[in-house]
Symmetry: C2
Subunit: 470 residues, 2 copies
């Protein structure tokens, strides 16, 4: 048997803001493990002969991050498909199924899993997938149904019906986020399972069901793949992809198909959909507090407290989430997760940069980190990865002063090219064409002091860019 | 009549941490006014012919700050007395009384007030002081007794006895921090007043009572004044001053003297002795929140929320203090002020720099602000005031890169002297003797990037320092 994982890494949730941002959603963060959720998701289905290399589906802005994360973990994916726009899961799954049907045939068994969940018991997950694959081979679209641990009201439920195989049952119906009384009844009755957003099916089954049940999604996604730009990343064609409605695979297919099946599983699953859920699965001190970073807590109970880089003093608190990052801090009761989504939406409407990204922004060439900003100047740290370079560019409104911290910089400044080593510095005047390259084998770190009346990222004229950003 | 204010500015409280720090206690901060508490305290008793220029008593580390604050406000003090060590209020008052007895005679009427309180009704305060001065002229030591606004348990109470003048009464007894039942009884009875730490007396009365009631304080403080270094600041002699016990004027004199009197007053007084007290007197929104800085609050009630320079998002909170500064954040219930003192003491024991000072540190020549620190480097902003200079110095473990943001820098580097203007930069290699001066009439701002394996402030060899720090 050869099961091909499709990893859905295109999400951009707000429920763990300010740790997660649009530019760095939770699949790229690490929580209970040293790896990112994405890498752990991939590793969970590797090293097992029954599983082959994955296809990863990514949002446009995160394609290079997916590639870098996988490369750093030594993972060679079958492909990375890049969605040019956010259109929810249905078109992403359609394109991936089309890709694998072409590459591996319509009988290939696909296992579609989100990149941003935690699974405590990976062998149990693999066992459940293999169990589901038997029903998938017979033409079903099989979901992993999580045995409920509590009367949760925040999940969708699947009611299991008549048996298909030893392990799989037909889906009788879906119930989205029940009230508490209903959830308590479900917990008692035993045949209701949480929908974890994981699906196992033949490539051909998915394609034919999508063509039948959501033909507008299927035709847009398949056309986007046919017209994709291929390379390190397979970039789906934007014009075609944009014709798809934005819809989840659950709504577009699962709630309509007669082929829905479910395999009950007990795999230590959580979607860490809130700070409260994260606290639940984290290590806690004797007072029930989950603490990370530079925190001094006294007489606090059942709190989640995190600090990135500055002292947090918390006194006499109960059941609060306090999450302090370099540019934003959240303080809210752990049981008020819904308020956070509304606040993030309101702040996004105000155009607050703290919603879009961290002070540290990843780029194809490395990253920059805004250390400090004030009227008239800004200080950044740049990291240029080995062999990489920023584009040949100029700024009309700012001069830049570079001090090399570590590594070796090859600097182009108008017609000069010269090398700077740690402790050396140079000036890039307003209007000078310039570039910094890292010709070495280690990281190049530079402190950049920008001076000018306007310091926005959009004051840039690019002449040459190896990442095709001109 | 000529009343001479003595402003006690030597305190270093912890109750408003992290806004106040050891290096920047609350008398140097502003709260409900644009001025610091110190400046408002002085201004409250100026512009009135009955009051003369003040004597200000300061802790050693804050002498230059007092001088700078007063100069910026256009205030010419009679003198600034600098206490070489913290010894509470009794020796500070003794030295100031001795100074004014010498300068103005033993009949001079002194009015001693703390520099870190808020008084809402300054005319009422001046009226009460003038009323007290009449009794002081007759040899009493007169306290301002605040008419209680509530049954507070955190203050000391004065019980007023028989009348001396139209306004002043003898003090019958002192009651320190009563329990709630007692405080409620006091509030009902009407003759109990809060002790605001303000005293009016003849210079000669204070000297003679101190020589009688606390001769060890009086002899140490008077000897410290006799051996003081005079100049812009009058620096009391450390060896003499250190012989005084550390004791308050209340304990050393007021609880023992037979000359204690009190003038009841209603002056809108608070010692802002807690975040809760600050919230009480601050402007509040319709939900009872006092908000300052970049704060997004939703569904919060009766909170104090402050943020210095980064976004704070507060959701669904009640009666919390959240105070976010550049390097430290406090989250605590407003009614748990006592926990804060214990936490600050514990953090001080751990040697945490966040207790000692802000990232911005004031120096006689201007200030520096630590913008960012990481292993191997640190970025600071320096402000050198017009006509000032840092000492001629060298560092054994770090190089420094200077970029001038604004103003003009005269740089000494080994045997060279050169000028840098905005946008120009230079390097100070490890071991190079160097100095930066501001020869101009505006502020000089420099970004300093330090590189090295050790970046502590104590890696400094000073060769020449106009502030006598060698």
């Amino acid at each position: 048997m050869d099961i091909i994982p499709i990893i859905l890494a295109g999400g951009s949730g707000t429920r763990l803001w300010p740790r997660s941002r649009q530019a760095m959603p939770k699949q790229f963060l690490n929580f209970t493990s040293a790896n990112s959720l994405l890498v752990d998701t991939v590793l969970r289905m590797s090293g097992d002969a029954r599983f082959s290399a994955p296809v990863v589906s990514s949002a446009a802005e995160h394609g290079f991050l997916v590639a870098r994360e996988l490369a750093a973990a030594g993972i060679q994916p079958k492909a990375i498909l890049v969605e040019p726009e956010k259109r929810n899961t249905a078109p992403a799954i359609s394109a991936a199924a089309r890709y694998l049907c072409d590459a591996s045939g319509e009988d290939a068994i696909l296992c579609i899993v989100p990149a941003d969940h935690i699974v405590g018991d990976a062998p149990a997950l693999r066992r459940a997938i293999v169990e589901g694959a038997a029903a998938a081979a017979r033409g079903f679209i099989v979901m992993i149904g999580i045995k409920p641990a509590e009367a949760a009201t925040g999940y969708g439920y699947i009611e299991a019906g008549e048996p298909i195989t030893d392990h799989a049952r037909k889906v009788k119906r879906f119930v989205e986020k029940p009230d508490l009384a209903t959830a308590e009844r479900f917990l008692g009755e035993g045949r209701f399972l949480w929908n974890a957003g994981m699906f196992i099916a033949r490539a051909g089954t998915i394609l034919s069901e999508m063509r039948k049940l959501c033909p507008d999604v299927a035709s847009a996604a398949e056309a986007a793949l046919a017209a994709a730009k291929t390379g390190n990343l397979i970039k789906l064609d934007q014009a075609s992809f944009a014709k798809s409605p934005s819809i989840s695979f659950d709504y577009a297919v699962m709630e309509k198909t007669s082929l829905a099946a479910v395999v009950p599983a007990d795999i230590g699953w959580t979607d860490i959909g809130s700070w409260s859920a994260l606290r639940d699965i984290s290590d806690k001190d004797g007072d029930g507090n989950s603490i990370r970073g530079d925190v001094y807590a006294s007489n606090c109970h059942d709190c989640l407290m995190e600090s990135d880089g500055r002292l947090l003093v918390a006194l006499g608190l109960e059941q609060l989430a306090i999450v302090q990052t370099r540019d934003a801090t959240l303080v809210a009761p752990l049981n008020r997760a819904q308020d956070l989504s509304a606040a993030v939406a309101a702040l996004k409407d105000k155009g607050r940069p703290e919603i879009a990204s961290h002070t540290k922004v990843h780029r194809p060439w490395g990253w920059y980190d805004s250390l400090f900003q004030a009227p008239g100047y800004q200080v950044k740290e740049l990291m240029i990865a080995p062999g990489e370079a920023i584009s040949l560019q100029l700024h009309r409104h700012r001069s830049e002063h570079w001090v090399v911290l570590s590594g070796e910089a090859r600097v182009t400044r108008n017609n000069e090219v010269f090398t700077l080593r740690p402790g050396q510095s140079t000036v890039i005047p307003v209007g000078a064409r310039h570039r910094a390259e890292n010709p070495g084998t280690g990281e190049l770190h530079i402190i950049e002091v920008q001076l000018g009346d306007y310091l926005g990222e959009d004051d840039i004229v690019r002449f040459e860019d190896r990442y095709n950003r001109i």
